[in-house]
């Protein structure tokens, strides 16, 4: 059986992508991981592909930025309840407020140091994949 998309990672920075994927893989969470490198690509996956269990969303993205993607996720019936974790470098208050207003479930500022980053990604992945009961999940 094909592993369904469980995590959609929207990230344009290749290095961050690699670090994130590595952190998730270490926790055996990378199975069914899909990576989108800009907002439009993310939307294609969300509209055409299976609904992910969780979306890790960077804010600063080419073409369609993270906030717009979040807005569309919440606007579409099939993705309305998908947990969205904002994973960004921005500590800016307006961004944080705006994301929560648009319906983000979590807002994580990527730590600069490697251990901190790994911990943040791991904890978020574990929480949303293991602990959280989404509607329709077993």
């Amino acid at each position: 059986m094909q592993t369904p998309t469980r995590i959609l990672l929207v990230e344009d920075d290749a290095a961050d992508e690699e670090l994130t994927v590595r952190a998730l893989r270490e926790q055996r969470l990378a199975g069914g991981l899909t990576v989108a490198r800009d907002g439009e690509e993310a939307m294609r996956h969300l509209e055409a592909g299976p609904v992910p269990r969780v979306v890790f969303l960077d804010l600063k993205l080419p073409k369609l930025d993270g906030a717009a993607v979040l807005q569309r996720i919440r606007a579409a019936e099939r993705t309305r309840h998908v947990p969205v974790v904002i994973l960004t470098s921005s500590r800016e208050e307006p961004d944080i407020e705006r994301c929560y207003r648009l319906g983000a479930n979590s807002y994580l500022v990527k730590p600069v140091d490697a251990e901190g980053f790994q911990r943040a990604v791991t904890e978020a992945g574990l929480y949303w994949m293991m602990r959280n009961h989404a509607p329709g999940s077993p």
Binding site: D13, A15, R22, S89, R91, P111, D113, F117, Q118
Partner: protein, 575 residues
Amino acid sequence: VAAVALVTVGIAAYRSVLRLEAETSARNATNRSIAALGDLLGQLAAAESAKRGHLLVPDGSFRAAYLEAWDQVPADTARLRRLAGRLPMLGGLLDTLAPLLAAKRAVQDSVVALADAGRAGAARELVARGVTRELMDRIRAGVEGAVAELQAAAAAADRAVDVAGRRTRRVVAVAEVTALAVLALAGLAIGRQLAARTRAEAALRARESELQQVIDGVPVGIMVFDRAGRTRYMNRRAPEILGGTGDRPDLARVPEVFQVVEAATGRPFPAERLPAARALAGETCHADDLAVCSPGRPVPVEVWAAPVRDEQGRVALAVTAFADISARVRAEQEIAALNAELSRRVAELEELNRELETFSYSVSHDLRAPVRAMDGFARMVLEDHGAALPEEGRRRLAVIRERSQHLGRLIDGLLRLSRVGRCPLAPEAVDMEAAVTEALTDLDPVDLSRVELDRGPLPGAPADPTLVRQVWTNLLANAVKYSRPAAAPRILIRGEIRGAEAVYSIADNGVGLDPAHAGRLFGVFQRLHRPEEFEGTGIGLALVQRVVQRHGGTVGAEGAPGAGARFWFTLPLEA
């Protein structure tokens, strides 16, 4: 008073003269009475002589004289009777004399008749009986008594006339003196009045000159217009303000020489709205939107105008006062220009702020990602290939990781600092003791466990709770960090109200600081120690200062090398 005096004196003089006349006329009556009485005695003596003659020579030659003498007697008594109206005593005398005269005539007539009848002897006998002599004596005694009385009266009258004369002369003299005095007084009074009038005129001239100087001296132009709108007067300042040479122009030419325009547009000012016109209509008014065009450029003026009314309350004149407000207008223009400049600068500053925000956002996003990659990928190399690397290779990778992490902390510190400068303050009453307790949870518990904390009571203050907690965290972390070398690290936390602000301090017994560098402590990236001694970004104290300054407080540090350091900050109690 002069008139009363004159009239009184005149009346006195007139009465005095009347009295003199009366006295004089009484004196005349007395004289005439004495003469009449003398005449009467004369007539009686003549009759006596004629009777004796007739007795001696009865040929009738004396008869005529005898009769003639007696004929005169009634005339004399009649004279005396008339005078008795003035001299009443004559009336009594005449009444006494009348029977005596009648008896004497009867006896003498009898003697004469006897002599005529040739009976001389009987006649002589009758005479010898002395009847007539006795009668005569009584008559003479009465008359002489009356004469003596009259003469005494006459003497008295003379004296009276004399007295009256003297009094009259005196009265007249007094009258003359009085008249002279009155004249002198009148002259004096007139002189005095003239002097007073002269003085009053001089005072009036002095006052007029004073007023003129005052009106000329005030720093506003003053012009007075009559009902026809003609210029009646202008003070010295007026033509100066109006842009003339300072000479007062021919008043009739004022409307041609000085034209009033609207300050804003330069168009002729509507005649009916001119302050002088409004004042002539009875209005007290003020205007500063006009300018006066003399031969030069328009001078902006501020004008006050008021009607001047006559005694009937009708508007007779309009007085206008005006000041040159060029300086004010210029100042206002300058202020407007400055304000515009300020607005522009504020806009620029806001734009700069926005740029800074954008910049810090991109720093946040764009710088952190590469640094994270450096650290992350170095770590991956160490994890995946560490075993294959020589010791020195692993050490160098570790240096890359350490320095990139430090760079990350610097970037994060800078971002926090910039956020503190930009984020809006949300002040509330902060419980400082609770804030310190919370801040202590931010610190490394291992480091903290080595330190003896001495916490005094702390007054509350209005502040942004998140930011003030950051201040405590940074200062406490500092104190913990720099007291690490001490044998028994001790940190004193104190607070008090001093005047209108709360003062807080954190003192440690650590490495201390050089007072010469205390001022540099709060600068960004300023560090007094090498990183090998104490880790740090050089941003913590800069952040403390930024937060405290944004609250209107001040920060400071004091200490000596090896003797610990004391940091303090203040917060105003009235936000």
